[in-house]
């Protein structure tokens, strides 16, 4: 069970990384970064898994809980991911206003012409 979740997280990570390496559009690169972050959240949730454990909210008659610490760290990862995504999108907007395109290679070409 846990291994399957790990494999899924690793595959999603690979998909995000491949997108980040091969796409040329800044918006798509931002989406790829976001996909990579979701794979980390998936991995954290899978690490927290305890066989037979329930959600870590203490109530009567429950003794087995999943690990609560990775869940708290997943929240940290999500928040920092949102911050990174916001700054990346702000830079994309600035780039579009300056060069009129979101294509990374086109921007490289334009900066080379300017020299």
């Amino acid at each position: 069970m846990q291994n399957a979740a790990f494999v899924a997280a690793a595959l999603v990570f690979a998909i995000g990384l491949h997108g980040m390496l091969t796409r040329r559009n800044m918006i798509r690169i931002c989406i790829s970064i976001s996909v990579m972050e979701s794979s980390l959240v998936m991995a954290l949730v899978a690490v927290a898994y305890v066989p037979g454990g329930s959600a870590p909210i203490v109530s009567d008659g429950q003794t087995m809980f999943v690990d609560p610490l990775p869940h708290a760290l997943a929240l940290t990862a999500i928040v920092i991911g949102a911050g990174i995504l916001a700054i990346a999108l702000a830079l994309t907007v600035a780039m579009y206003r300056h060069y009129g395109t979101t294509d990374v290679l086109a921007v490289f070409g334009k900066t080379r012409e300017g020299q």
Binding site: F6, F13, L17, L21, P56, T76, A82
Partner: protein, 244 residues
């Protein structure tokens, strides 16, 4: 030729990295299993109700054991807003009306109060049910963003001015630090909860967990103000300027 090779090479590289990612996770789990002695997760689940008064262990970790880290997370959002504002400058809402259709607007104007109810519930019940300040704050930000998307930017700026959002963000940040200082004043550490003598209440009831509900509310307000002002900064520009 090179155009075909590069994506394939990148794919192989990514798959190899993914295999490494899997092996690291597997190794981390195997290192931890098969040891005797108390585990950290059992420590959290058995003692958190007595030590923090919060039934939700994740909230207990976020708002009590690692409350200082949560203050740092709130600062991360604040920094993201500050950087976006520095890069993009003052937002200028476009006069061209980009609103949704009449039907959507009529429907939304009756559904929006429910959108306010749900985040408030999530924030207020953060210590006794799934949820908390961050989740509720994001839902609140969705409310503001929905107003902007559905009724247009000028209307959204009128209903929820950017100045108000910025003030809420500052106020919530100062409130968080003030609650932390209260712990020092009471003779315990920064952001101390029950150790500083705050009443724990009956675990599982709405008013329990010492300062945890207050911290949840402040974090929720801060996240809501931060994310919605991020949207306003990102959207508040004429898209037609570099366009043709």
């Amino acid at each position: 030729m090179i155009r075909r090779v590069v994506p394939v090479a990148a794919g192989v590289f990514c798959l190899l990295l993914a295999a490494g990612f899997f092996l690291v996770l597997r190794g981390a789990v195997e290192t931890g299993s098969g040891r005797d002695g108390p585990l950290l997760r059992d420590l959290f689940t058995t003692s958190s109700v007595d030590e923090t008064g919060s039934v939700n262990v994740v909230t207990a970790i976020l708002m009590d054991y690692r409350a200082f880290d949560t203050l740092g997370e709130a600062t991360v959002i604040f920094t993201a807003v500050a950087v976006a504002a520095a890069i993009l400058g003052k937002p200028r809402p476009t006069e061209s009306q980009r609103t949704m259709g009449l039907l959507s607007r009529r429907l939304l104007s009756s559904v929006l109060p429910l959108f306010l109810l749900f985040p408030l519930f999530v924030i207020a019940h953060g210590h006794i049910s799934p949820g908390g300040g961050f989740q509720g704050g994001v839902s609140l930000a969705v409310l503001v963003i929905l107003i902007h998307v559905a009724f247009g930017d000028p209307f959204g700026q009128n209903v929820v001015p950017l100045r108000l959002l910025v003030m809420v963000e500052y106020g919530a940040a100062l409130g968080l630090v003030a609650v932390g200082m209260l712990g020092i004043v009471q003779g315990a550490s920064f952001l101390a909860n029950l150790a500083a003598g705050f009443p724990s209440g009956t675990p599982g009831s709405l008013l329990s967990g010492g300062v945890i509900p207050v911290l949840n509310l402040l974090v929720g307000l801060k996240v809501a103000a931060g994310l919605s002002s991020l949207y306003i900064y990102l959207s508040g520009h004429e898209a037609s300027r570099g366009d043709r």
